[in-house]
């Protein structure tokens, strides 16, 4: 496998297209935010990629997570795997995985991902060989962590 095909593994290209958790933001105004609601907007100033993540209480069958963003395939796939992780493992699982993902990203190609912990996010190992793309991969995770933390602190 070349570095390029390691970077753009099929899992990543698929997530970039079929994005888990992507949807229409609820965007409640500041005074209408329910307790336990978090929202985070992050921008990569280098390329203008951006993402908004909302996390919080919902009624019925809706999932507490929804995100909307635009950016490169790495940043969008990264948001999708993060969304999948959150949906499958919940906030606690996500919080355990996030540091491992961050560490993997900074491993300069040398990290061995724990697939049980990271799920599809393990496919991002190849990204760590491309220092210029680490920010793309981490953008969504920063937003997810921030939104979750906000949701917890605004809980009654």
């Amino acid at each position: 496998m070349t570095d390029l095909t390691q970077l753009y593994q099929q899992v990543i290209l698929d997530h970039a297209k079929q994005r888990v958790g992507e949807g229409t933001l609820r965007a409640p105004s500041a005074d209408e935010r329910p307790a336990g609601f978090g929202s985070s907007h992050q921008v990569n100033p280098t390329c203008g990629d951006e993402i908004t993540v909302e996390y919080g209480p919902v009624t019925g069958t809706e999932h507490p997570l929804v995100w909307d963003g635009s950016g490169c395939s790495i940043s969008m796939a990264s948001a999708s795997v993060a969304g999948e992780l959150l949906q499958e493992q919940g906030a606690d699982g996500f919080r355990t995985a996030a540091p491992a993902f961050r560490e993997l990203m900074h491993s300069r190609g040398k990290g061995e991902p724990d697939e049980d912990l990271l799920g599809d996010a393990a496919a991002f190992q190849g990204v760590s060989k491309f220092p210029g793309r680490i920010k793309c991969a981490l953008l969504a995770w920063v937003a997810f962590e921030d939104a979750i933390a906000q949701a917890e602190t605004t809980k009654e």
Binding site: L4, L13, C47, G48, D49, E50, C72
Partner: protein
């Protein structure tokens, strides 16, 4: 007009020999920063090993030699851009140059600089005009000046085909206008703007003109006196020179009246604990130790380009620009930003690949040895105007050759197929 011997020229640029990802390097990011010829690298090294010393400060031999080299650099630069020596101020980059101008206006507006500086005062009711194609360096400082003074920031929009929209010129630039700041050449669209028309309109209303010459200085013959602008800014690193040095040009009479911005050593006359007097231009704007070795390097770059001839360079880059435009246009699913006529632009071509983000395009190109720039190129409003947030840009310089173009176009052809999209025949 001589024809450029590209092979010989490329031999002067050692970095071009390197490989990237096992491939020949096709460096198409000269719009961001240019590579340096050996003569520039050697000039800096020579200076550092022979004459390095503080300038304008010492009486010893090294200091005299360094001062001579420093001032010879100013003289070379003045000749290169059609200015007088005292009109060339050294800065660290074009961004600093533009900030010095806008802070000069801000300082005057805050009452500094005495009656000489009154002409630079701005306030509520005045307007500053920029354009929608400006690099952030020629936009954000003017936003800040507007914020500080209460003046209104206005702008000229863009046409769909990448030109300044001048239909409303006489409404946008009106009697309230004190400054018209615009780029000579767009760093994204490649468009060469109609400077004479903008200068003419600014003069009609008595506004100062500020030219961002970053993308013209290395690519077109530049005659600042001929263009008649009041101020101009450009960077050494984009014109085959070192990083760390830029130029602020201003008409001598204006520079002597504009309040200084950075203050400190070497720009003063008499300093007491209570107050200080300031030298005339250019020293007025050259506080502290200047980038002497870099100026020596930049002077070598300017000599190098002059020896080839800026008309020869411009013709060469126009041909490369045409080849880039043709090549990009031949790839399906790719939209070119900016004018399609190579005669009205420089050899920098930005484009959008349908369905593939610029970052991914750049990454794929890099794997093929092609260094292109991706992102908003410090021109977010321009990208927003064309409905995108980022683009990919291939930009040429004197050393760019047809092989670079071919390698790039072949790589670009592979982008959409790699990302699972239709790459069919055009």
């Amino acid at each position: 007009m001589d024809h450029l011997e590209t092979t010989r020229v490329r031999g002067d640029f050692p970095l071009l020999e390197r490989t990237v990802n096992g491939k020949r390097l096709a460096y198409l990011d000269s719009g961001a920063t240019a590579q340096k010829p050996t003569c520039v690298i050697d000039a800096e090294q020579d200076f550092l090993t022979r004459s390095n010393a503080a300038v304008h400060r010492g009486a010893h031999t090294l200091a005299v030699e360094a001062t001579d080299a420093f001032e010879a650099g100013r003289s070379a630069m003045a000749g290169f851009v059609g200015a007088a020596e005292e009109e060339i101020v050294w800065t660290k980059n074009a961004t600093e140059s533009l900030n010095v101008i806008s802070y000069g206006f801000a300082n005057a507006s805050a009452g500094l600089g005495g009656s000489d500086a009154e002409r630079f005062r701005l306030g509520p009711g005045d307007s500053i005009v920029v354009t929608q194609m400006e690099h952030h360096a020629n936009l954000v400082p003017w936003q800040q000046l507007a914020l500080r003074t209460g003046a209104e920031l206005r702008w000229l929009g863009l046409t769909d085909d990448g030109h300044l929209d001048l239909t409303d010129l006489s409404e946008v630039v009106d009697a309230s206008t004190r400054v018209v700041a615009f780029t000579h050449v767009s760093n994204v669209l490649g468009t060469v703007n109609d400077v004479p028309r903008l200068v003419e309109r600014a003069r009609e209303v008595g506004a100062f003109t500020v030219l961002d010459a970053c993308q013209s200085a290395a690519h077109l013959p530049l005659d600042l006196h001929g263009l008649g602008v009041d101020f101009a800014a450009f960077s050494g690193h984009k014109m085959l020179g070192p990083t760390g040095v830029g130029v602020l040009y201003g008409r001598k009479e204006l520079l002597d009246a504009l309040p200084p911005v950075l203050t400190g050593g070497s720009m003063i006359t008499t300093v007491t604990m209570e107050e200080s007097g300031f030298l005339p231009a250019p020293q007025r704007f050259e506080a502290g130790t200047q980038p002497v070795a870099q100026i020596v390097g930049l002077a070598a770059a300017v000599e190098y380009m002059s020896e080839i001839g800026m008309d020869v360079i411009a013709a060469h880059e126009r041909a490369i620009g045409a080849a880039l435009l043709d090549g990009v246009a031949s790839v399906p699913g790719v939209r070119i930003l900016g004018p399609r006529d190579p005669a009205v632009r420089i050899g920098a071509v930005a484009f959008d690949v349908d369905g593939v983000h610029a970052h991914d395009v750049g990454q794929f190109l890099d794997a093929q040895g092609v260094a292109a720039r991706v992102g908003h190129h410090c021109a977010q409003p321009l990208h927003r105007r064309y409905g995108i947030t980022a683009s990919t840009r291939a930009s040429a310089a004197v050393y760019t050759d047809q092989d670079d173009v071919d390698q790039f176009v072949a790589a670009l052809r592979g982008v959409r197929p790699f990302f699972g999209l239709d790459g069919g025949t055009p």
